[in-house]
Amino acid sequence: MSRDVAVLGVGMHPWGKWGRNFVEYGRVAARDALADAGLQWSDIQFVAGADTVRNGYPGYVAGATFAQALGFTGNQAASCYGACASGAQAIDLARAQILSGKCDVALVIGADTTPRGFLAPNKGERGDDPDWLRFRLLGATNPTYFAFYARRRMDLYGASSADFARVKVKNSRHGLENPRARYRKEVTEEQVLSSPLVSEPLHLLEICATSDGGAAMVLTSMDYARRMTTDPVRVAGVATITPTYPNTVIEMPNFSTDSAHGVPLPGRSFRDSIAAAAYEDAGIGPDEVDTAEVYDLSTALELDWYENLGLCAPGEAERLLNDGDTTLGGRVPVNPSGGLACFGEAVPAQAIAQVCELTWQLRGQADGRQVEGARVGVSANQGLFGHGSSVVVRI
């Protein structure tokens, strides 16, 4: 039995620093996704909201919040949070509802309004919250963890700051024509390397900003979709997995990794296992991937993802980048949207936005940034405390 569901419509509110209520971004994204699908809000049987934790109580119950903002119709709703993976959780939930036969038409929405500067832990004396304690006892900001991964690439694989900077140069070019991107300006290697060091070896222009934004998609059963269109983009695989013990890579916001004392290492690292699970769910291999949207929280992290997605062997990501394989026009363009480098991170919307972009790519609608002939796309993403996510779409 096919486990595909159709992506009938996608929509996004442009990313930026708009300073408005997050619900408004979600409404705009939902309006555009419904229009793209040719459906009305009243057609939606199930709403999956990806939560935000930075906008008070309405953000914790995003499913109901968005449903109320569009006008309660008595449809079913769910709210879910998985940090940066929240959007994929919502997609997975909607897909499961459809595949189980509980509904035919679902709307997935994520939106966020973010404060300026570093993402910080929740306020108050929170001596039992590792997210609070890592700031208190270590000053271990999010970029600190990104810098750990970057520095390892340098010391293990001989990666250079120039290699990392060229990821930003590539993504800044990719995003130039993307009307929903926040940053649409070409940057040079020199500009990246002369921007202030934030968490050495990473510079300011190598670390993604935090943004306001919203994304939405209409998912339907294949039978329902065939009544509306001939050849819809399909969600073929979703992974929302956790690591396998022992996870020996330090992960935000932890103080330590698991102990590998006396136990065998898992066959794959956590990040390697994320896309592998989505590939398995979709019944494809990495060699079938035409384009990928990955979570480039930093330039160097994008290079890690090349290897985690199986696009190349460990230690070969710099070569892949420098050969142009991951640039538009190359073998497997990565972040044709411009990625987080051009968007900044709107946490609960981001994993949905990745799939929106892949949908436009597979339909041939990505004007000015089209991956020619793309038929299979994969997204990859990771949320705090071990929420891995990846979505495979195909046409």
């Binding site: 039992d128 304690l133 022992p246």
Partner: protein, 147 residues
């Protein structure tokens, strides 16, 4: 007048000025190690409900990675005024085979440290107020000998 020297995190490490140790736990069935001791952040899935005994972790390990922060982090980090860059190390303990974070010891130049270098645990000042000096564990390059 000297200030009281107090632990910035009670029960996370010994206050031995010469040879401090991180305080972890060990699963009585699995033999797996855990840190910090006060938080149920991890478990060996073969023994999710096992008892755990307190254990002092080894003082030595090798640098897994490092990062030097040039921007002042948000609260609750207590920054000196004016802000000074600081380095955070991720260190893999040889015996326990786990990576534990900690700041680089005061006075060590970060450019002298690279992935794979041996380091050992020391105490250092995290921040001070009028009455107290708050201490935390830090990592410094190891001076030889066995861990």
């Amino acid at each position: 007048m000297s200030k009281n020297r107090v632990a910035a995190a009670e029960g996370w490490f010994t206050m031995d000025a010469d040879e401090p140790r991180l305080l972890g736990t060990r699963g009585v069935d699995s033999g797996s190690y855990f840190f910090p001791p006060s938080m149920a952040t991890s478990a060996n899935p073969a023994h999710p409900f096992e008892e755990r005994e307190p254990v002092e972790l080894s003082r030595r390990g090798r640098v897994w990675s490092l990062a030097t922060n040039h921007y002042q982090p948000p609260e609750p980090y207590v920054s000196p005024e004016p802000f000074e860059p600081y380095t955070v190390l991720a260190v893999e303990l040889e015996e326990e085979k786990m990576v534990i974070l900690g700041q680089l010891a005061d006075g060590v130049a970060p450019e002298t440290v690279k992935v794979g270098d041996p380091v050992e645990l020391v105490l250092g000042t995290l921040y001070e107020d009028d009455d107290n000096e708050y201490l935390v564990w830090k990592w410094q390059p190891a001076t030889g000998g066995q861990g």
